[in-house]
Symmetry: C2
């Protein structure tokens, strides 16, 4: 790998074990995942959660392991389940008695395990837990026993017959399973030092690397659902094995080229009669409509897209490929300029769980999948690794603090798949167009991508806080999290001791610890929400043993303050970023947000809930004139948020255990348009009650002054079912 000029800015995250997070906010989230989500998830993937859709994940691994033990696996002919060649989901006829030798669930059900073990690995890195580790080890034994001798490891084909393995890349998810297995195996190895699963993942990757590739006889396909690209790049970084990077690059280079592999597959299946109606594959859905370097617009399934773009950024960095980096930049610009929700979510339409067209960001029918926000955070961090620019970190932070966390209840026991920006529970029940929108979080999903995805990113959130320049000269602080970070800078071990209280307070300090004076650079991100970079930079002060330190030169570049010079043990970098309440309007080309404003403060986007503001939230108007006239009229209150709600159905959906979390709410000057009164019903037997007319001559609405109470978006729907809106009418 040559190090050219363009590669000079590359950096990579600090190792998970070298960073701790102890601040109140993220510590609470990580504890929630460790104590609530991980045990729940383990029960879920063992079909042990009453009322929740069974996963069949461990069932399938056990069935495959048993079959391996009988040595019958590879001779079996593939029998596509009768329901559909897409074979998305298979269920036992009698749910109480699944057949022990049959595959059930979605084709990608293996990933339930991989995501769980990944979060477990991250958790164990910081919080040793012998019992959890023993459970994980036993699960790993089962998974590894399911692996075929040739390294192949996807229970759907192992159990249904191997002769059609890797034959339906567009709809089946073997390479997706490979990717998640790699991610999980690396995390568990990092967290415990145990490499049994890592070796299994490498063997599956080796098999895949021999099956796919540019050489004659090798398959020219690529993943239908991306993730293998970024996982293989990571496997290369962990093992140093170039073939993994080559395979990731092959998948990326091959994608969308002509003749189109997915169209080839569909035609082949149509001709041999094995395809159902899905043979005509929607290539943009899987970002396979044109070569990735030519793609200018983010399209298709938003999670797939985010994973692909992340893999592209990884490969661009690791192969120092400027054309691929440029493609990443173009796609980034398209997302951030035209397709990003103010909550950090992406994916405007449920049709394909996908990006909608430019500037189409509906609030009520939004898809904004939790996993898509996570994928955006993945992509953003990798853009930072390519090139440190504050914008990447701003978007990463927005996605992490808002939509990612909104995906999980404050008790860690229920989850959103879809994260709308406006909800009317009555409409959700009455309107099939809103079938995908749930007004309260659900306990678990058969297609359980989001809960474990939230678990794995929360447990590894410290990996998003820092990167170290490849030349070892500079340590970047992207996110301000209370805790410690260790790195080797200019050849010497350095430890940063960070005191911060994000997202509620913008001030804090970093104490630098090192054995003796050394010269290096500490670069600090100037958050976009803090105003002009010069202002934010102005709040950063460095103090050494002798007060203000002339030892350190300051340079402001791309939204980072670079502090370069000789650092002494005990030097302190203090910061006090302004955290004004921002009243935001969307670009006028966003039709759905015309005449509306949203409020944010620091990285947090706020919303109004019916619980605090009454029903018919569309009649609650922000008094924008007053706020513009006197920004102090918006009150910022730190308070104890009381979560807790009874379940709203027999499965306990919407249930949240009583939890208290410190957070900030906004009290915003507003006015309400009264709900028109129903004329009193006439006496029985007379005419039907009359209602206010549907259309009447326009007159300015009556304005009843009120105060709107806004809470952080991530905390909505923790007090039962109710209306919510991020944008307020003006």
């Amino acid at each position: 790998m040559t190090m050219t000029d363009s590669a000079m800015g590359h950096s990579t995250p600090l190792k998970l074990g070298d960073v701790t997070v102890t601040d109140a906010f993220w510590h609470a989230e990580q504890e929630l995942v460790r104590t609530a989500v991980l045990p729940y998830q383990w029960r879920a993937l063992n079909d042990d959660v009453p009322g929740a859709a069974p996963s069949y994940c461990m069932h399938n691994f056990r069935a495959a392991a048993a079959q391996n033990a009988r040595k019958g696996a590879e001779g079996k002919r593939f029998v596509p389940p009768a329901y559909s060649y897409r074979g998305f989901e298979s269920k036992p006829e009698d749910p109480a008695h699944p057949d022990p030798d049959t595959f059930y669930g979605f084709v990608f059900q293996d990933t339930d395990f991989s995501k769980w073990i990944e979060a477990v690995g991250y958790s164990l890195a910081h919080h040793p837990d012998a019992e959890l580790e023993a459970t994980a080890d036993r699960a790993i034994d089962v998974v590894c026993a399911a692996q075929l001798d040739n390294g192949y490891l996807d229970t759907y084909y192992i159990l249904n017959g191997m002769d059609r393995a890797f034959h339906n890349l567009r709809w089946h998810h073997e390479l997706y399973c490979l990717g998640h297995l790699i991610e999980g195996a690396i995390a568990y190895w990092e967290g415990t030092g145990k490499d049994k699963l890592l070796k299994a993942a490498e063997r599956f990757a080796d098999y895949t690397a021999s099956y796919f590739g540019p050489n004659p006889g090798q398959c020219k396909g690529y993943p239908g659902h991306e993730i293998a690209e970024m996982a293989l790049a990571r496997l290369f970084e962990v093992t140093g094995e170039r073939k993994y990077l080559d395979l990731a690059k092959f998948f990326i280079d091959q994608r969308g080229t002509e003749p189109n592999y997915f169209r080839y597959e569909g035609e082949r299946d149509r001709k041999d009669g094995t395809a159902d109606t899905a043979w005509q594959f929607d290539c943009p859905y899987a970002q396979a409509h044109e070569p990735v370097r030519e793609q200018q617009e983010a399209v298709g399934h938003a999670v797939r897209a985010g994973y692909l773009y992340s893999g592209m950024a990884d490969v661009a960095r690791l192969t120092d490929d400027p054309t691929l980096a440029e493609a990443c930049g173009n796609l980034w610009r398209n997302i951030v300029d035209k397709k990003l929700y103010v909550t950090g979510g992406i994916g405007g339409t449920r049709e394909g769980e996908a990006f909608s067209y430019d500037y189409d960001l509906p609030n009520d029918t939004a898809y904004s999948e939790s996993c898509a926000a996570i994928a955006l955070a993945f992509f953003a961090r990798r853009m930072l690794e390519l090139e440190p620019k504050a914008e990447y970190a701003d978007v990463m932070e927005l996605a992490l603090y808002n939509t990612t966390l909104a995906g999980m209840a404050l008790d860690g026991k229920s989850f959103f798949y879809v994260n709308p920006l406006e909800v009317d529970p009555y409409a959700c029940r009455r309107d099939k167009r809103l079938d995908h929108v749930k007004p309260v979080r659900q306990k678990w999903f058969g297609c359980a991508c989001c809960p474990p995805n939230i678990a794995r990113i929360v447990e590894s959130v410290q990996e998003y806080a820092y990167t170290l320049a490849d030349d070892g000269s500079t340590l970047y602080t992207h996110l301000y999290m209370g805790g410690e970070a260790k790195a080797t800078l200019a050849g010497v071990p350095v430890r940063l001791d960070v005191d911060a209280d994000l997202p509620w307070h913008g001030d804090g300090s970093v104490v630098v610890h090192l054995d003796g004076p050394a010269t290096f650079t500490l670069a600090f991100r100037l958050p976009g929400w803090a105003g002009a970079p010069t202002v934010a930079a102005g709040t950063i002060a460095t103090t050494g043993e002798s007060g203000a330190s002339p030892r350190v030169a300051r340079e402001l570049r791309d939204g980072y303050l670079y502090l370069t010079g000789e650092w002494h043990d005990g030097d302190v970098v203090s910061f006090d970023f302004p955290m004004p309440v921002r009243m935001l309007k969307a670009n006028p080309l966003v039709r759905e947000d015309a005449n509306k404003v949203a409020f944010s403060r620091g990285p947090i986007t706020f919303c109004a809930e019916e619980r605090d503001n009454g029903s018919n939230l569309h009649l609650l108007h922000a008094d924008v004139a007053k706020v513009l006239d006197d920004p102090e009229s918006v009150r910022v209150d730190e308070f104890d948020f009381q979560a807790g709600a009874k379940g709203i159905d027999e499965r306990g959906q919407g249930e949240v255990e009583p939890v208290v979390r410190r957070m900030v709410k906004l009290e915003v000057p507003a006015w309400r348009e009264p709900v028109p009164e129903t004329v009193a019903a006439a006496p029985a037997g007379a005419e039907a009650p009359a209602f206010a007319p549907l259309y009447a001559d326009y007159a300015p609405a009556e304005r009843k002054p009120v105060t709107a109470t806004l809470i952080p978006y991530f905390a909505w729907a923790n007090r039962g079912e109710n209306e919510m809106t991020v944008f307020l009418n003006v």
Copy 2:
């Protein structure tokens, strides 16, 4: 039939042959249907329109007739087409060579003929045309030859096997076909005096009346798609045969009662294995979820609902049933108070082409089917027949002048099925959620309900203008149409000679012709758009031979001015209804119309098109303060509208021949928010072009004063594909 107090207010339309329409507006519409639609429609139902979906309608009748001639019909076993038991649409494998003995098309394809013959009958009533009549007679010969000896006449079962006839009432459309056949046969008989088709319809009705009914052994079902109810009521009125009214009443009384017939059918089919996934029928979709007298909310498929409610109103009137009349009143109130578009359209959601929930009236995703507006006009006229109240006529007029006419291009050659209130063609192409919304009219539809429905209501529009009280005392004028109306009032023949120029001018006159003085009542509707009834009534003056006539007493009741007294030949009733431009706002509970206004004048609802106002119509704001301050600031311009557009695809969709129509446009004070400028692209090789940020600190929008040009809604999309909106942001 007893005539009780409640029946005293009943009235019925004048016979079609007794009313002519000669005013510029409706004459042009009727000529369009006569010269463009009817010939086109005939070609369409003979599969003779290149590029349009074949109907197979006459093909099926010919096939059934040939089969009858071979005497093999009734012994054939039913063979459900393989694709689906719902059997909605069947197509030949080779479209160029349909099998001459096979049924093709939708299960209700027979109605293409029935709707055409209905419009032909209306047309011939006023405009004799020997060639058209000969064509119609030949078609009738074919249709009658398809009828079985027992009277059954639905080619789907005649050709597929009769043993399952009337066995899938929920999805198949035999009773719908019966209803349309009756309507068509009556119209043709009224228009020509020929009763061959009427006799055939009666025989099918007789067969149906013996098959269904309350007696042991009779089927307890009722129509899946309503219309037979109103058609049978009309057949009773034409023939005096009580059994037809009894059958209509049976269908209505039986609907939605327990045990639910549709659920019974579904369970039966599921058990015997003939059902597909549609066995669980959505009863509210077909208004079969509860007995009709208990229904308070208009739900389900909007056309079905409108037809049912029309039939209910007919039966309520003809059987003098107060509980049924009350149910009609409740459903009317629900529609008008909570579910009616400002264009007179109904049906807020494409999911089931149905009513959405209360106050859910989305503009861009609206369904608002042309047929549903027509069904609403049917219902409204029947409410008028029950009880003359101006509100019914106001809504009827709104539906007729706006959504009904919007369904047809100004050249009569292309049609809308769906009538949105806001269209962005780019969104229609990119957004699957808008698959149902077409930005330009289509040439024809395989499911061709709307074009012939428009044809039949336009050709019979004079039936909506007048009703005569059952006791012969009062002639009601509901709509003001230039032309003549003849009726027998108080036993003497009376002719009204009407001069009017609606919808553009509110003034006109009615000259009363009769042989000698006679005493009766002429009642004139005071349109809601003319302001308070007292104001509108004040513009109505009566002048006899001797100037202002004290012979006539004036009484204002329920929005009608009743003029009662001795009338002389040559008496003149003049009117001059105010026709102010109205700036309307929706009830605040309509979330989609918050901060928006629509403009109307007289019965016409207006809209803004991109062609006149530029793109991004959501950035065009009505200057409501200026309009409120000075209503005269809205200019009303009578002008010649130039229609005409090239087709936008190879099938010529969107093509409109050059046509000039006189109409009125509004010039409204407005302002525009500028479209944010794209920052110029950086030099090649540098970064991607930067766009205005997606979110920015709120500041009041820059206001560029402009004038918004609004044209009548019915005329939109006659100048090619472009943006359109009815509601303007304020």
